[in-house]
């Protein structure tokens, strides 16, 4: 049997895991792989529910990855009525255009692609979003549910700085231990290490003052 539509999966999750808040995130591309956004508190329970579901049996987590979404600032022009004082002191109400800026705080996202080896279907895409891109970049680890996320969550920690709570062995994996930044983030600035190489000058070498000109 094939998988039901994401809305149906969402309904079943909410029935099967009490308290879980799931929302469907539509995907505009022709692939139509829509995803389910999970809340942190129930993510682990939802993952276990999906893995052990008798009909779906999503026993295989193929891909786990991080995504960085920067703070987004949207500005829109709004017409506002304002009382304007003219030069002669009289007051009148006029429509004035104002630019309003709304800031949408950025977040880091963890994406899991689930398949079923038993039922041979998929993918079901799960997402989790962190509170912000700073201290709140924490998510529950799904490695206890699918071991295949072990190295991939380590990689998301290494390159994106998402802290996975409950991960058995959360260390850097591709970068070295002393490295400080998170290179896959969109605002990462690579260090400038192209220091101009200046050849040590030896006395008598061409171009030096001590060169004996004859």
């Amino acid at each position: 049997m094939s998988l039901p539509c994401p809305e149906e999966i969402k309904t079943q999750i909410e029935a099967g895991v009490p308290g879980a808040a799931v929302s469907v995130i539509a995907n505009g591309s022709p692939s139509a792989q829509h995803s389910l956004l999970l809340d942190h508190a129930h993510a682990r329970a939802v993952a276990e529910f999906l893995r052990d579901h008798a009909e779906w049996r999503l026993d295989y987590c193929s891909l786990m990855t991080g995504v960085d979404w920067l703070d987004a600032e949207t500005s829109e022009k709004v017409k506002v009525k304002k009382v304007v004082k003219a030069a002669d002191g009289s007051e009148s109400e006029q429509e004035v255009e104002e630019v309003r800026k709304t800031k949408k705080p950025g977040y880091l996202e963890a994406v899991y692609h689930l398949f079923s080896m038993e039922k041979k279907h998929g993918p079901v895409v799960l997402r989790m979003r962190t509170r912000d891109r700073g201290d709140g970049a924490r998510l529950p680890s799904l490695t206890p549910v699918w071991r295949s996320a072990e190295f991939q969550e380590r990689e998301a920690f290494d390159l994106y700085g998402i802290v996975f709570e409950g991960h058995p062995d959360l260390r850097r994996i591709l970068m070295w231990d002393g490295f400080v930044d998170f290179p896959m983030r969109k605002d990462y600035v690579p260090p400038v290490d192209e220091v101009p190489v200046v050849a040590p000058q030896r006395p008598g070498a061409p171009g030096t003052s001590s060169e004996a000109r004859r």
């Binding site: 193929s62 994996i173 970068m175 896959m184």
Partner: protein
């Protein structure tokens, strides 16, 4: 005499006699710059942590900075033994993301080059594995003799032996000639004999069986949970081949079987490669028989300046090493917002420790050899 052997068998090292060994990053058995932090009790492995990243160049970031087209040559350098399948995985994901169709002839050419890639990868892997076991030289040279012929074909088709950069979203870069197809037919006609030879070389060799049977066992349930894919998964008895599951490309048109193991040990993984080589030959024969004439590129595709609609797609193929997937997020601009490779080599290493625990240190070498990793893909 008898007593002495019995004494040896019950010999237990004293407590606290744990030795730490750092195997690598330049150990000849690690097939590249890969390190295993091993703790040994006598010769038995009690802890093993893989350490990698020595070849890390942040491939994903590079691809996110370039256009969709410009990532293709970079994918060649992931698993540098199998550039054709890497190309395919990536272009498949782009095709899913942008909704691009592929002409019939291009699909056949893709199958032909991908199966040739699978063949030479498996031949090489078996050669290296036997080399790791101490069969110095001979099996590897046998394997490389056939691999050489495949690479010659790749060179005459794409201009490069290993970094082929051949596929494009919407088809393949250049059409193959009738002469090239004739050469492939000649080669494919010889391959069954090569597999026979290669198999007879050591398949029932007593030393090989003693060293590989029952060694590095990967249980079925763990293999599934740990996301192990490819021949390694099937050696543990799981029937999961993406060519059969997804029918990507035109794989639903070919008749071939999916070989499966029973024990999940090194011997099964070794046999899996030999059996898959035979199935690959079957697919090649059918594809060469049925390949139609026609264009090899969809003329409407904008290779340069492709701007897919905002959205995301995950495309995956059965690469020789396992499930190779590419996850792309488009924000409507000319370069991917997120570009992610699902590297089968790296994820298959997750359970390296589980397979090696309790085995001898010498067996850790062949267990790693049977996983089939390429560090270009592990580290990206």
């Amino acid at each position: 005499m008898r007593d002495a052997v019995a004494d040896l068998a019950v010999f237990e090292p004293e407590e606290g006699e744990i030795m730490e060994v750092s195997m690598g990053p330049h150990h000849p058995s690690t097939h590249g710059v890969f390190r295993m932090d091993v703790k040994l009790e006598g010769e038995r492995v009690v802890r093993l942590k893989p350490v990698f990243g020595y070849l890390h160049r942040n491939h994903e970031k590079i691809a996110e900075h370039g256009a969709y087209l410009s990532a293709i040559p970079y994918t060649d350098r992931l698993d540098y033994l199998c550039s054709m399948t890497n190309n395919w995985g990536y272009v498949l994901a782009v095709e899913k993301l942008a909704g691009i169709a592929v002409p019939e002839r291009a699909e056949y050419i893709r199958v032909i080059v991908a199966e040739l890639t699978r063949f030479q990868n498996h031949a090489g892997l078996v050669g290296f594995l036997l080399q790791d076991m101490g069969a110095s030289g001979t099996p590897l040279m046998y394997a490389f003799r056939e691999r050489e012929k495949v690479l010659d074909l790749f060179e005459s088709l794409s201009g490069a032996r290993m970094m082929c950069n051949y596929m494009r979203f919407g088809g393949v870069r250049v059409d193959c000639s009738a002469a090239w197809l004739a050469e492939v037919r000649t080669l494919v006609g010889r391959l069954p004999q090569f597999v026979d030879e290669f198999e007879n070389l050591l398949r029932v060799n007593e030393i090989l069986m003693a060293r590989t049977q029952g060694v590095g066992v990967l249980p079925r349930a763990l293999a599934i949970n740990a996301g192990v894919t490819g021949p390694m998964l099937r050696a543990s008895g799981v029937n999961y081949d993406i060519r059969k599951v997804d029918h990507y490309g035109i794989y639903d048109r070919f008749h071939f079987r999916v070989p499966m193991g029973e024990h999940g040990d090194v011997y099964d993984r070794y046999m899996m490669r030999l059996l898959e080589m035979r199935e690959t030959v079957k697919i090649l024969e059918q594809a060469l028989r049925d390949i139609p004439a026609g264009p090899v590129m969809d003329p409407k595709v904008r290779l340069r300046g492709l701007r897919p609609k905002a959205g995301e797609a995950y495309g995956r193929i059965e690469s020789p090493k396992g499930e190779l997937g590419f996850f792309l997020i488009s924000d409507g601009t000319g370069n991917p917002y997120r570009y992610r490779v699902r590297p089968p080599s790296m994820i298959n290493l997750t359970i390296l420790e589980d397979m090696c625990l309790g085995e001898n240190i010498a067996d850790a070498v062949i267990i790693l050899g049977s996983v089939d990793i390429v560090l270009g893909e592990v580290d990206r």
